[in-house]
């Protein structure tokens, strides 16, 4: 042993204390990290539970069973000839109101949804034979009653609900028409199908435009482009586009697609094109990462036996990168699906009561519908807004889940 050594006395008190302090700091730091994760997760849970708490009621509605004695009612309808036009002239709103008054008392109009008569119309359309008998038909209750039945009403309304309950005509159940209907003015009648379909069409356009272009761009940049000022510009543009505020894309859509190209306002086509410009860079970036992660040895192998660059890419690189590209695409699409601001710029914030038939029809999308409903006068819309949010979230979580699943499933380490 050499004389100059002065080994540290690790067992000394000072050292032991110091170690204890260091370990305490270690524990604190770790807890801090755990706390950060938990806080973020708790926020998410809080958000989701708030939305669920508010929104689940939106999937139900209160209905009142009306006994309609068709033969005795002043209905102007020829049972042999039920047509749409005939039903319009049949004076149904008045008949409904009268029947209701007879059954429920003079304030019946306030108890029923203003469009309650459409339920009777639909019942007649479904089975004209009921015109010859007395039939019990469930019609939606008015918003006030609906809210009161769910425990959020004024005292008068609660009293009315108690009375109706006593009569045994009130029922609250799952509201299928919320999933099949479209925008409307009566919260008991509205549905999200129109907005949902609008979202689907918009996403379709977005996907068809952004996916091929995004993948092609990623392939070009990653596999073929030689580094030059030119590819630098492309690269900077793409990275920048991925971060440009979405509202700027709205401005672009407004001035190029609407004002310059004169494409139809409010259409899924324009919305899809605008969002495609937004999504494309996301796909490019995800695509490039996926392509990068394909090991060069695969390319070498193919090139080494004389595959051409195009063959290398389309027969080897692309198939292997596809799961990664798809994951990126889904994430980009999910983001586009939740996007609102740019669509406001191009007129997709309209009242649209018929689901769009095609990409050039006026349409709205789920997030915009949520935005619109959050501004509705009637209080019945509050729970509908939350319910629509739930639908949107479920849709998005499903997409994100799919992306995560794909990522986990195909995450390969070469």
């Amino acid at each position: 042993m050499s004389a100059t050594r002065n080994p540290t006395d690790w067992k000394s008190d000072v050292m032991q204390k110091r170690i204890a302090r260091r370990y305490a700091a270690e524990r604190r730091f770790k807890l801090l990290g755990l706390f950060a994760v938990m806080l973020s997760a708790a926020f998410l849970a809080f958000l989701l539970f708030t939305m669920l708490g508010n929104g689940l009621r939106g999937f139900t509605r209160t209905e009142i069973a009306l006994q309609v004695d068709f033969p005795a009612s002043p209905l102007l309808l020829d049972p042999a000839n039920i047509t749409d036009q005939g039903l319009v002239g049949a004076n149904l709103p008045m008949v409904t109101s009268e029947v209701a008054k007879k059954a429920l008392g003079p304030d019946a109009d306030a108890l029923l949804s203003p469009t309650a008569w459409t339920s009777i119309r639909d019942a007649i359309k479904a089975d004209p034979r009921i015109l010859s008998r007395t039939e019990t038909i469930s019609v939606p209750a008015s918003t006030v009653i609906d809210l009161a039945a769910k425990g959020k009403g004024s005292p008068q309304a609660e009293a009315a609900v108690a009375r109706l309950k006593q009569q045994g005509v009130l029922s609250t159940g799952f509201n299928a028409s919320f999933l099949t209907g479209s925008d409307g003015t009566d919260p008991t009648q509205v549905g999200i199908w129109g907005a949902f379909k609008g979202s689907l069409l918009t996403m379709l356009v977005t996907l068809l435009l952004s996916f091929p272009v995004g993948v092609a761009t990623a392939l070009y940049l990653e596999e073929y482009a030689r580094k030059s000022w030119w590819t630098d510009i492309i690269e900077v543009s793409i990275n920048n586009l991925a971060a440009v505020p979405s509202i700027i894309f709205g401005l672009l859509g407004l001035s190029i697609f609407l004002n310059f190209m004169h494409l139809p306002r409010s259409a899924a086509l324009v919305g899809g094109m605008t969002l495609a410009l937004m999504t494309m860079p996301v796909i490019v970036i995800a695509g490039r990462n996926a392509i990068k992660s394909v090991p060069p040895s695969i390319r070498d192998a193919a090139l080494g036996i004389g595959a051409s660059p195009v063959q290398v890419v389309f027969q080897h690189v692309l198939p292997l990168a596809l799961p990664g590209i798809l994951t990126g695409t889904i994430i980009g699409m999910a983001r586009a699906l939740g996007e609102t601001a740019p669509l406001l710029m191009i007129g997709m914030r309209a009242f649209i009561a018929t689901p769009p038939g095609g990409i050039t029809d006026p349409a709205t999308v789920l997030p915009v519908q949520i935005f619109l409903w959050s501004d509705e006068v009637s209080k019945g819309f509050v729970e509908k807004t939350s319910a629509a949010i739930i639908v949107l979230l479920v849709f998005l979580l499903a997409m994100n889940g799919l992306a995560i699943y794909l990522r986990n499933k195909f995450e390969k380490r070469w």
Binding site: R22, A25, E26, F29, G33, L34, F35, A36, V37, L39, S40, L44, L47, T50, M51, P212, A216, T217, Y220, L221, Y224, A225, I234, S237, I238, N240, L241, A243, V244, P245, I247, I248, F249, L251, L252, S255, I256, L277, M280, S308, V310, A334, R335, L337, G338, E339, T340, A341, L344, M345, R349, P367, I370, F371, S374, L396, L397, M399, N400, I404
Partner: protein
């Protein structure tokens, strides 16, 4: 001849071209092979097939695309010269409505006429459509044949069909990548154009450095000088997006990333990471709704209960907090990447010296990852300042220059929405201001991104 029929026909021609060219190449290949020269045939028969098929299809398709845009005009010309068209109203919209309807009926897109005047035009339309349809179809077919025949004559053993076809593939990839530039140009042009008009009305200096934002006074004839000072908007944007949101997002995001990458068991990490990512996937309109109806009132009540003056129910804090939460996954995934990019050897080096994990993280990993983290934070900032809906719904419209997080402020994006979706004067500075704001926003995010990417790249290179 109808569109689908032509497409089918062309597709058929293309298929025939492919098959026959391939067969020919195959024959040539067999001949060459029997003669023993293995490299006598340059390309696989399939490539010859594609070469000829593309020559058959592309010229014809280009022609059809042009024709589809030219022929309606020609058809309308023809119909208008028909005597039945003399009675059409003069005004263009009614006229085109009638014409359009007649056309729809003629082409079968519509069953009956809503406007009686249209019925008379259906027949002329029908004949014109079929006439031009036939002309177009014939021309397209001639082109297809010509293209195909030309290409077919080139099918020879030494013809480099593969090279040609691959060149086309490359060209289309290149064109796709240009779209990004076109989009960027589109943004710049559309913003610049309107902004220039704005700046011809409002002095850019007043706009950029003025502290009074009040478009209403411009509308009320107060002149533009004192109305378009965008500093309060810039401040609001920075206050919400770059200060409050980041105060939330940076510590939470960074610590989450550290915990998940350095401490958590793989199983925990596998589940928590995607869960946190969901925070970034929640649509901003949902956050906005949540911020406006749940967070903002709670914050206001809190502020009032602790006696803060001037607390508004639309507060910078509510918007900033929620935005911060939304940004957490951005920060954490960037931090995650940067920390992961610090070579394992750094970590080992520190641990081997007897450092604890947290000492290693704080003294070695984070300093080493700092440029990447900073880059990530810059990107997150650029995302935050571009965020719209949360602020629209939760932060209000008052252009206040204030440091009080409980008061209402407004941001650039909110004002853009407001100026463009609300009441608009014709070509007034007020509407154009939205584009000027958009331009500023664009430039700022562009700069932020360039800087951020530079930083991240520099630092990645340092380890590669």
């Amino acid at each position: 001849m109808t569109g689908p029929a032509i497409f089918l026909l062309l597709a058929g021609l293309g298929a025939i071209a492919w098959v026959s060219a391939r067969a020919r190449a195959l024959r040539l290949q067999t001949v060459a092979r029997t003669s023993g020269r293995r490299d006598a045939v340059h390309s696989l028969p399939g490539y010859h097939g594609w070469y000829v098929a593309l020559w058959t299809l592309i010229p014809a398709a280009i022609f059809l695309a042009i024709w589809a845009n030219v022929s309606p005009g020609l058809i309308t010309q023809t119909v208008l010269s028909d005597p039945a068209a003399q009675s059409l109203p003069a005004d263009a919209f009614s006229r085109s409505a009638i014409l359009g309807e007649a056309r729809n009926i003629a082409s079968g897109a519509q069953a009956a006429a809503f406007n009686p005047a249209a019925q008379a035009l259906v027949e002329p339309y029908r004949s014109a459509i079929s006439e031009y349809g036939v002309i177009g179809a014939v021309l397209a077919l001639v082109l297809a044949f010509a293209g195909g025949a030309y290409a077919f004559t080139r099918v020879r053993p030494d013809f480099r069909a593969r090279t040609r076809v691959e060149r086309l593939v490359m060209a289309s990839l290149l064109i796709a990548s240009l779209l990004a530039i076109v989009t960027t140009l589109g943004i710049v042009v559309s913003l610049l154009w309107e902004s220039i008009r704005f700046f011809s009305m409002v002095n850019p200096v007043d706009f950029l450095f003025g502290t009074k934002w009040s478009p209403q006074s411009a509308a009320l004839g107060y002149g533009n000088k004192d109305a378009f000072g965008a500093v309060p908007l810039f401040w609001g944007t920075i206050f919400i997006g770059a200060i409050i949101a980041m105060v939330v997002a940076i510590p939470l995001g960074l610590m989450s990333a550290i915990y998940l990458t350095q401490y958590a068991r793989p199983q925990v990490r596998k589940w928590m990471k995607p869960i946190l990512e969901v925070l970034a996937g929640v649509p901003t309109v949902v956050y906005g709704y949540f911020a406006a109806l749940t967070i903002a009132p709670a914050l206001r009540d809190f502020a009032v209960s602790v006696g803060i003056h001037g607390a508004s129910s639309e507060s910078a804090l509510a918007a900033g907090l929620v935005m911060g939460v939304m940004i957490i996954p951005f920060v954490s995934s960037m931090a995650d990447d940067s920390i992961a990019a610090v070579p394992q050897s750094m970590r080992d080096g520190s641990l081997a010296m007897g450092a604890t994990t947290s000492e290693t993280i704080r003294k070695v990993l984070i300093p080493a990852a700092l440029p990447g983290v900073v880059g990530g934070v810059l990107l997150a900032v650029s995302r935050a300042i571009g965020e719209t809906m949360i602020v629209v719904m939760a932060a209000g419209l008052a252009a206040n220059l204030t440091l009080n997080p409980f008061s209402s402020v407004t941001t650039v994006t909110t004002q853009i929405v407001q100026l463009l979706t609300g009441d608009q004067e014709f070509d007034s500075a007020k509407t154009l201001a939205a584009f000027a704001l958009g331009l500023v926003l664009f430039i700022v995010t562009l700069l932020l991104n360039i800087v951020a990417l530079r930083v991240v790249k520099k630092y990645r290179e340092a380890y590669e």
